[in-house]
Symmetry: C2
Amino acid sequence: MSAHPRLSINQATIKHTTVAQAVQVVTGAGIEAIGLWREQVQEAGLQESAKIIADSGLRYSTHCRGGWFTVPEGPARRAAIDDNRRAIEETATLAAAGAEGSRAVLVLVVGGLPEGSRDLFGARQRVSDAVAELAPDAQAAGVTLALEPLHPMYASDRSVLSTLPQALDIAADFDPAVVGVTVDTFHLWWDPEVLEHIARAGRENRIATYQVCDWKTPLEADNLLSRHYPGDGMIDFGPMTRAVVEAGYDGDIEVELLNQSIWDTPPAEAVRRTVRGFECAVAPYLA
Amino acid sequence: MSAHPRLSINQATIKHTTVAQAVQVVTGAGIEAIGLWREQVQEAGLQESAKIIADSGLRYSTHCRGGWFTVPEGPARRAAIDDNRRAIEETATLAAAGAEGSRAVLVLVVGGLPEGSRDLFGARQRVSDAVAELAPDAQAAGVTLALEPLHPMYASDRSVLSTLPQALDIAADFDPAVVGVTVDTFHLWWDPEVLEHIARAGRENRIATYQVCDWKTPLEADNLLSRHYPGDGMIDFGPMTRAVVEAGYDGDIEVELLNQSIWDTPPAEAVRRTVRGFECAVAPYLA
């Protein structure tokens, strides 16, 4: 079996796997790269996970995920910052264990409005503050923090960061090796200016990772789990993928599918379908 | 009973009413303005609806709704254009029947991707084309076409227009009396630049109507019906409402709530709850 050389499977696509199982399924499909989730890494143990990655020969594409920066100062915020410091260490360790071409990228989902608050502006300021606090740790560890704008339908509960310019404006205060952005088709495809935004991200050297995932109407009842194999939905992957290529991003491209029916599919089958979807809907634009 | 003098009830909030019932409930609550939906107007008959409005002493705030402009040229598109011409006539007739201060505003929901298409760019161009085709009719009838950007979660199925600048750019080719925009908190609250966009809409004299409606997490399983009374959700109505006031909009402010549980509430009770929500969450910013 073989797959596109730039395809990486994000473990969220095969959520019900251990690190060892995920690596086995991904290598078994002829895929060259993987991104793991923190919960599973912590369950297996960081050193054991790093050993599994090293033995696999896979590249490590991203670590998912840090963030949750919007709570006001206090014990909960301190705990979140400390947890992100651990995530930075995990990222560095796993990327070092991966094959050549691995990327030490920690994806950040910044969080929604704190309980009881309607203050979007304050929440966004606290995101900037948290990035400033963590940047020295990331720099010291050689890790890139990848701010991910999520679809605006998650603005209240998961991410007060909804657009690429918002993420780029926060990143602007830092070295591109330390703070970058995540470009995800599912979150950004609707934006009438997304191609210009991707071009700007390229000029500013900020694209830390590119994720592809499809949007389908109607949404699932739980909108968090409404992601689909590339090609199964309404997104034309051509314009955005070409823009990312022209912007100079040449790293792995992850497929991260949160979807109950995909999770109910045997992992090897879900990965095969991902390989096929990527081949048809994304790969043609990577030439 | 009395209500804020700028509050208008959009009939979608009390969907299961005839025109006569809607007018009765709204006047009974001491409200001064109403916006009707085309389905109900057609059921009652246009002239009968106009008579009911005239007899009520209510202002007419908007007519809902026209649009569905994204289908390619052919019989379906011709039918949609013709139907919008009828909607323009309805709008003119009902606004003329309303009390002084009525506005001849036709709200436009432009449509999503046509069946089987992934071409957002083409769909958006067809929206501009349709507006150009209808503008002379609107001008002749003294009607303002109010392009409504919908929340990006509707980009595939209901509106390829997702932001205020998109709507303003389309409107720019026309007289502000002929093509304007709808500012709706539910659709725009997440936008990090919404206040600047509202200011621009004001400078360009394009705000044809302002609608207030709250966002709550989690969304309803059917995301179309996920709208809530002002004050019941996560939106801070202060910044947007002040921006709309500062932008010079001084017309009626509609509450349009698509929500099954509100539809299941007796209309008079839903209107009372709307009056209260508006009073607490919106009115303080209209001083």
